[in-house]
């Protein structure tokens, strides 16, 4: 039985870091360490971004703290020819794909839209603001990849709230009808700005998969190995030409919706605290240490590396120049249309 047929939430590492499933996910020590490095860097950079925003160096910033496993585990399951269609909170996934952090953050600095990184270079589409629209793009890309006869697949990230949009349905249905190699990856982080699950949907989002005859699987989104294996299975299914998969990763948005948000208006601190105890980075580190995939020295060196890297990112992003005003009208068309 494939992990995609699981009827329960897929979980390999329990909240306390102990294994509760087959944690031999086919990653060697290097892979396991790489995963950790990505999570640690992402966590650290996210916090730096919050600081940068407070210092006036970034415009509004949407933190992803708590969602590192969901993003890193899924992005790590992809290959270089695959293509990711992110929403607006997937900096961790972007880093895994090799997007340059400074280039990505230019979006949040307000230097340019969508991230001026080259989407082709890393197979990572521009940051997409109108929620759920990117799921359709992913399906279109997947249809194109299939027509090209490649084994590549597309993965779209979207949130629990985004899944209420009509575009979610149109994308899912088209993916199913076209048997497109597409992965619909929902990060269910418990909130859509201030709107809780019971005001957003009535059944698990993964349950919608039945309506498209595609596998729908719920995974512990704070368990990076579980996210990795589930996504990997969906990727393999896509590569085999069997079509799309819907994944619902159960995670939590520890921070506010964005730096402009005041989450105390709508949610209780106890809920946040409870989820802090399920922290994805801590959990994975505990498991890694307990199983001797890493030792304390590795963790420390990882921290040091990360600090140095974040310092470079900070220096980089705070010194990005504003674009020159003539860029304003340069890009709308391949050959600009003269002003009337």
């Amino acid at each position: 039985m494939s992990v995609l047929d699981a009827s329960d939430v897929v979980r390999l590492i329990a909240e306390d870091g102990s294994a509760v499933g087959d944690t031999d996910v086919g990653l060697g020590t290097d892979g396991l360490r790489e995963l950790y490095r990505h999570m640690a860097r992402a966590r650290r950079l996210d916090r730096e971004c919050m600081a940068l925003q407070r210092q006036g160096e970034l415009t509004v910033y949407p933190p992803f703290e708590g969602q590192e496993a969901a993003q890193v585990g899924s992005a790590f399951a992809l290959g270089p020819d695959d293509f990711v269609f992110p929403s607006f909170r997937e900096l961790a996934a972007a880093l895994v794909r090799g997007v340059d952090a400074v280039e990505y953050l230019e979006y949040h600095r307000g230097t340019w839209h969508g991230g001026p990184y080259d989407p082709y270079a890393s197979g990572f589409a521009p940051i997409c603001v109108p929620v759920a629209t990117q799921i359709v793009h992913a399906v279109g890309w997947a249809v194109g990849a299939k027509l090209d006869g490649t084994a590549a697949c597309a993965l779209a990230y979207f949130g629990d709230g985004s899944a209420s949009e009509g575009d979610f349905h149109e994308a899912a249905n088209m993916a199913a009808v076209f048997r497109a190699p597409a992965i619909l990856f929902c990060q269910n982080n418990g909130w859509a700005i201030s709107v809780p699950p019971d005001e957003q949907y009535a059944a698990p989002i993964a349950a919608r998969a039945a309506g498209y005859a595609m596998p729908g699987v719920r995974v512990d989104g704070n368990d990076v190995l579980a996210v990795y294996v589930v996504t990997k299975a969906a990727v393999e299914r896509a590569r085999r030409g069997e079509g799309p998969t819907l994944i619902e990763a159960l995670t939590y948005r520890i921070g506010p919706h964005s730096t402009a948000d005041d989450a105390t208006r709508y949610r209780r601190q106890e809920e946040v605290d409870a989820w802090r105890r399920r922290d994805p980075v801590d959990r994975y580190r505990t498991w890694l240490l307990a199983n001797e995939h890493v030792d304390g020295a590795f963790v420390t060196s990882c921290e040091e590396e990360t600090e140095a890297w974040v310092a470079r990112v900070r220096a980089g992003i705070t010194s990005v120049p504003d674009p020159s005003p003539d860029e304003l009208t340069r890009h709308a068309f391949a050959r600009p249309i003269g002003a009337p």
């Binding site: 839209h113 709107v195 005001e199 890009h331 009337p340």
Partner: protein, 324 residues
């Protein structure tokens, strides 16, 4: 006399409508506990309950679509789109149904629906947070479209919009949410369809709406010191458009400059210029000038002020027009 922000004025208009008319409903994304991302619905759910004021799933077409059914069931929906750039999924329901329903039913079923949309730029927002969507609505026959420029008028216009038997698209200039004004909000202002002349001057007529009204006033100030006295018209209502007030002013001044944030081509400036030509041709001493954004998508924060009409752009246009 109290001083209030536009956000507070809109909040007061909603509160008063919810209190005075038990058929009014307020809904949209995050309008409940959060009070909307701009706090326009702050406290309303607590005061009027979860039935009259409620969050919706993130589904703009759905939000506009349920307005139709609610209106048929005799309710007066006041819906919020979270931002201009996220109002587009609702266009199909707005163009296809809300605007057409009364005509479709030969007048039997009307659509007393208000759709509020925080709009326009100037807040260093991300992509899709600085759109000027008015053309889409103004061109759609069957809709009224209003844009306040000040807190007190925001109250007046929203109250009138809610009482209107027909659908009203209510575009709120985000850049003015925290602007303040002294006075008591009242519904007894000029009706929808009537412009306000904020300043009189015989050299040139400045026509604008929303946040740009304030840049026009600043330009008029600057130009006064050069001896150029401008009339400043705040349209308030884009549909119906107060062609009479604009026409009378231009027939007197002989010159007009229209200012808006939307891209130039088929922005409101086009319609206003065309109408001015229709009603004041023989009085025109110079072509009607349009000071607008260029025909490109709204830029990132770094280029926002280069994109939006500046006070200096307006002054230049007036100078060119006056010396034509």
């Amino acid at each position: 006399m109290s001083e209030l922000t536009m956000s507070a004025a809109l909040n007061a208009a909603l509160r008063d409508a919810l209190r005075d008319d038990p058929r009014t409903l307020v809904f949209g994304e995050d309008v409940g506990d959060l009070g909307g991302v701009f706090r326009v619905t702050d406290g309303l759910q607590r005061e009027f309950g979860r039935e009259r004021v409620f969050n919706t799933p993130i589904a703009e077409a759905g939000i506009a679509g349920i307005c139709v059914g609610l209106a048929i069931a005799g309710w007066r929906p006041i819906a919020e789109m979270q931002f201009d750039g996220f109002s587009y999924p609702a266009l199909d329901q707005v163009i296809g149904h809300i605007a057409k329903y009364r005509t479709r039913t030969r007048g039997l079923v009307s659509m007393p629906v208000v759709i509020r949309i925080p709009s326009f730029g100037g807040i260093r927002g991300k992509e899709h947070h600085g759109e000027s969507p008015e053309t889409y609505y103004v061109h759609t026959a069957g809709l009224k479209v209003v844009v306040p420029s000040s807190p007190l008028d925001a109250y007046t216009l929203l109250t009138l919009a809610i009482r209107d038997p027909d659908p009203v698209i209510y575009l709120e200039p985000k850049a003015r949410y925290w602007s303040k004004e002294q006075g008591e909000p009242t519904a007894d202002g000029p009706p929808i369809g009537v412009a306000r002349t904020l300043r009189e001057g015989d050299a040139c007529t400045l026509v604008s709406y929303g946040a740009m009204v304030h840049r026009c006033l600043a330009a008029a100030d600057a130009l006064t010191s050069e001896g150029t006295a401008c009339t400043v018209i705040d349209l308030r209502s884009l549909v119906p458009l107060d062609t009479a007030t604009i026409g009378a002013s231009v027939r007197s001044s002989g010159r007009a400059v229209v200012v808006h944030e939307a891209p130039r081509t088929l922005g409101m400036g086009a319609e206003i210029a065309a109408r001015i030509m229709e009603v004041a041709f023989d009085h025109l001493e110079a072509p009607v000038a349009r000071v607008t954004a260029p025909d490109v998508p709204y830029p990132p924060a770094s280029l926002e002020q280069a994109y939006l009409p500046s006070v200096e752009d307006i002054c230049d246009a007036v100078r060119r027009t006056v010396s034509y």
